[in-house]
Symmetry: C2
Subunit: 389 residues, 2 copies
Amino acid sequence: MRDVAIIGVGATAFGELWEKSFRSLGIEAGMKAIEDANLSGDEIDALYIGNMSAGRFINQQHVDALVADYSGMATNNVPATRVESGGASGGVAFREGVLAVASGLHDMVLVGGAEKMTDLDDPAIGSIMDSTADAEYEAGLGVTLASNYAMIARRMIHEGIATREEIASVAVNSHFHGELNPGAQFRRAVPLETVLRSGPVATPLGMFDCAPISDGAAAVILCPLEDAKEHVDRYVKVAAVAQASDTLALFQRDSITEFRATQAAARRAYEAAGVTAADIDVAEIHDDFSVAGVMALQDLGMYAKGKAGAAFLNGETHFDAGKTAVNTSGGLKARGYPIGAAGVAQIVELAEQLRGTADKRQVKDAKHGLAQSVGGNGSAVTVSILEAI
Amino acid sequence: MRDVAIIGVGATAFGELWEKSFRSLGIEAGMKAIEDANLSGDEIDALYIGNMSAGRFINQQHVDALVADYSGMATNNVPATRVESGGASGGVAFREGVLAVASGLHDMVLVGGAEKMTDLDDPAIGSIMDSTADAEYEAGLGVTLASNYAMIARRMIHEGIATREEIASVAVNSHFHGELNPGAQFRRAVPLETVLRSGPVATPLGMFDCAPISDGAAAVILCPLEDAKEHVDRYVKVAAVAQASDTLALFQRDSITEFRATQAAARRAYEAAGVTAADIDVAEIHDDFSVAGVMALQDLGMYAKGKAGAAFLNGETHFDAGKTAVNTSGGLKARGYPIGAAGVAQIVELAEQLRGTADKRQVKDAKHGLAQSVGGNGSAVTVSILEAI
């Protein structure tokens, strides 16, 4: 397979964007990425779109065709494919796009992720999000993603894997970085006390342990690595795209304090990229709930089980701490969580870091970046590794 | 890229299967394909699932993880990806699966398609199907897939491209073959008069011009062509998988009596496979509405514009007529139309034909098969070409 490069990235600001439609968000992100890559739209060979549920959020299935159409690419009858894997939809779309270029089938691929969530009321939104858990054995019986993560948090506290304060620190870290990202939904730091005292969602998790409801879109442009310098001066190599599944329902697992899918995807990604966890300078992890952040760093092998929480609490995860910087974009918690866009937005942030365009939150001399995107309660995970050129 | 073979196929019967759940349908089709390929489930490297809208039909997003889980493949953390492209979801899933093997990334891939539609009432089902048209400029204003196809039919009749009788003959052809397929939803022939006199849906199209609401699943197993004979005696080569997009809304097109996406995908597929329309012995085309069948044969280059209708009316499309046999499975109209399953079921039928296991509807000496899968009103089309070995 051919090596693949990212030659352009773009994202909308994330937030409650009442004034913007799904299609306008998608076009905004896509055009930014195309301009960033010094291309025109008619140079794109294929589109992959990560989207969780436009069918329910805005009553629009078939958004692959919508995006191809409104970006002008239907004129060339460009193949456009929507992929979905719950919260990992963006990560999976990125992997399919990389595969399309690596295989030799396509030479210039746009991978987009988009979600327009705020047109519905909160109970409807919650119902859609919970439908990424098992509809028959979890969601249909009242189990929510939040209540499952609350059980995980309780178990981790009970087993001494993390304290409540350490779990809450994941959100503090994301907000710390969100303040430095002009495109973030929440651009302000919050103290630990604020997270601990936030209103209960599913005890012990409170409002500030949970990523927000967001609108937004992100896009990246992929081409063969050997062609990258024809288009841009600064680009990034895709060193690995790995993906793994686990049981859909949480109760079917031997352990709920680790995600086997993250472990498997990480193992495959490190092997493909020829690196270890110690080589990762900057990581974007799927902190849809704070406790998931603690699990992520452990399952990715960056910290031993029981040690990741302290890293967040001590600020070792900050962009300027000299260790692996975590969620410099603000993560899902502070940058925002438009579901299908999230996994692609992680790639956008890593590309900015690795080419040195991350401005106030720039990680010094970042060489390797890792993105982890999670569907359901860990039932699907992608791990992608990018490398500075 | 590597050549790819189909070494196993399986499908459930299609119909109103009140007693079967989405997950049981998916497992049934998958296990049949795995057994047909003489494999065990733990030999599968990756899953691709074509599904249009389980999120709305059964309140279950993330069916990639569901299928991986209930087929036992989550035990090995197998990557599982759901793809959607409206009615072309199955065709697009097949293409992604082929790409995964052709690229060298995976050596044994299961492509499944499934839809469980009948748990809802008819207006809800109609609303979901119409959400594959443009939600803002078509569906939201009352335009339906059926009304768009009715406009197309009126235009074709007005321009003399096809008569009402010729259009209706597409359904007659599908029912003729459905009688010969034990897995079809409607296993009986219908005379032309029955189609012409069926209750109006969107004039001139009546009930018998429209594919039914169905439950069902289908699956195929893919591996590198050079490995195929290690597993099975009879297998089929994938000669091409092509895909193209067009505008989402019908009103944006220069012509509504042809689908540019079908034309583009067909052109790419013939070129990749090194064949022409005249080489195709058996074709499965997307007759969700009868008029689409007439368009398909014309846009695929099998008949000149204005000539395809007569082919259906004269029975040239029958399995035993010595021309290109069309919809020997019964097509979407008589075999049934569980949306995400349809494109994969077409591949199942072609594989049966090309390896000579199509029983009463066997096309003699079939060498090349073609499948056309359509999303929306022609806004996404896949064309796949298979070759007998």
